[in-house]
């Protein structure tokens, strides 16, 4: 077993947490609250990756009809939902500090709210179909159909309505908030660490599902 990268990740994340609180705040105008940027954006990023993975395994399921792909699609959606919740909460805390209210239907908040609803609906659908194969196919279709709305939510809608969201996000084209070299290094390290963490969790889920499937079919 190759464990070294897990220790490295542990060490890396500890250092990132330490540094994110000891270096000067990334944006002087917003002040101390802007430190949340090192956590909030990686969470939102993982949320989108997880939902993309869910759509990917849904497509794979519809093509090959392997039950394992359906498990992975569902587990990716679960992970996506978790990170989506974290991004919503960190975003709301930031909103309270800088805009004065936890929730004010800023376009970004609307988008993330819709994402939460979509994946809430996804699990509502999963619980409403009894037959396993039918459930897998129907939820796969819904996951793909819902994922198609994500570009509209992330890229189009927030640009059509005036927003208070800082234009420092990696997905926004007009990078008004230029990151200094130090901030950039911490931010991208954090992004990498979160991404590795996500794939680690995902890998564990993948193995668990594989074992469960094998136990069910008695091939283990």
């Amino acid at each position: 077993m190759n464990m070294w990268w897990k220790y490295l990740l542990f060490l890396g994340m500890s250092v990132i947490i330490w540094i994110s609180f000891t270096t000067p705040a990334p944006q002087q105008e917003i002040g101390e609250a802007s430190r949340i940027f090192y956590y909030h954006i990686p969470q939102a990023w993982i949320c989108v990756i997880a939902f993309a993975m869910s759509a990917y395994y849904s497509i794979k399921y519809l093509r090959k009809r392997h039950a394992l792909d359906d498990d992975l699609a569902a587990d990716s959606a679960r992970l996506g939902l978790l990170f989506c919740l974290l991004a919503t909460i960190t975003g709301a805390i930031f909103a309270k500090v800088t805009w004065g209210a936890f929730w004010n239907w800023d376009p970004r908040q609307t988008s993330i709210f819709i994402l939460l609803l979509i994946y809430g609906a996804y699990f509502a659908l999963r619980s409403a179909v009894e037959d396993e194969e039918r459930r897998a196919a129907l939820t796969a279709v819904y996951a793909i159909f819902a994922f198609i709305t994500v570009p509209f939510l992330v890229f189009v809608l927030p640009r059509m309505v005036p927003s208070l969201h800082p234009t420092d996000s990696v997905i926004n084209k007009n990078l008004k908030f230029t990151m200094g070299p130090e901030v950039r290094t911490i931010f991208f390290s954090s992004l990498t660490a979160f991404t590795v963490l996500y794939f680690w969790i995902f890998n564990i889920l993948k193995k668990t599902n594989l074992i469960r499937r094998k136990l069910e079919t008695g091939t283990i």
């Binding site: 039918r134 198609i148 809608l157 059509m160």
Partner: protein, 227 residues
């Protein structure tokens, strides 16, 4: 190629005419949609009394009424096939694309008829300004196309699930929300007396959304239908 697309058109038309005939026989979808729309409208109008409303509130109320009325009838086109156990026969006689396009056109028709009744009543009950009526009509037609485009596939999905009624609104709402926001914003501007040029960006968004939804639905429908 030309021959097969002509075949698809005539088959879709056959599915559409079949559904239309069934609807005229039972009038279930139309009754549900009208009664729901009129009831909601009456409640809203009664609660508000003679209060004069701002364009913002009028736009929001209008699309809430339209959304919930549509939700009460749009799933019927697929649920009926499952309940009357005709889905299997239809699956054997028509290919999925023709079925989907026929049902999509049927839902468009249902929505247009619904809007044609509820919209004038809305203007009468709430005393909304009628100056920009032609512009409002444009938004309305685009909105109906969007509603039909986004919900027909979901109607097919829920017709295969065990609990149908509540699930339709739950599944459709998040998909519809981006376009409902755009529709509410554009209606608000039109009711405030602005021209269509002012809402052209929102209209582009709505049309793009409908095209993407219809394309995705056609690609995905066969997986639901064969289930």
């Amino acid at each position: 190629m030309g021959k097969s697309s002509a075949g698809l058109a005539s088959k879709s038309l056959a599915v559409y005419v079949k559904d239309l005939r069934l609807e005229l026989r039972s009038r279930f979808g139309l009754n549900a949609v009208f009664m729901f729309g009129i009831t909601t409208l009456a409640v809203v109008s009664f609660a508000l009394g003679q209060a004069s409303l701002s364009p913002k509130i009028l736009g929001a109320l209008f699309w809430i009424i339209i959304f919930f009325s549509a939700m009460s009838g749009l799933a019927q086109v697929f649920v009926r096939e499952e309940e009357q156990q005709t889905a299997l026969t239809l699956r054997l006689t028509a290919d999925p694309d023709a079925v989907f396009l026929g049902k999509l056109c049927f839902n468009f028709s249902l929505l247009i008829i619904m809007a044609a009744v509820i919209t004038p009543l809305f203007f009468v009950f709430t005393d909304a300004p009628t100056a920009g009526a032609i512009n409002f009509l444009v938004i309305l037609v685009v909105g109906m196309i969007d509603l039909g485009a986004a919900t027909t596939l979901i109607a097919a999905i829920i017709s295969k699930a065990s609990v149908k009624g509540a699930l339709f609104a739950v599944l459709a709402f998040p998909i519809l929300l981006p376009m409902l926001i755009a529709l509410t914003l554009s209606s608000e501007k039109i009711l405030a007396g602005e021209s269509l040029g002012e809402v052209s960006k929102l209209l582009q968004f709505l049309i793009a959304y409908a095209i993407v939804m219809i394309t995705a639905s056609i690609l995905l429908f066969k997986y639901v239908w064969q289930e």
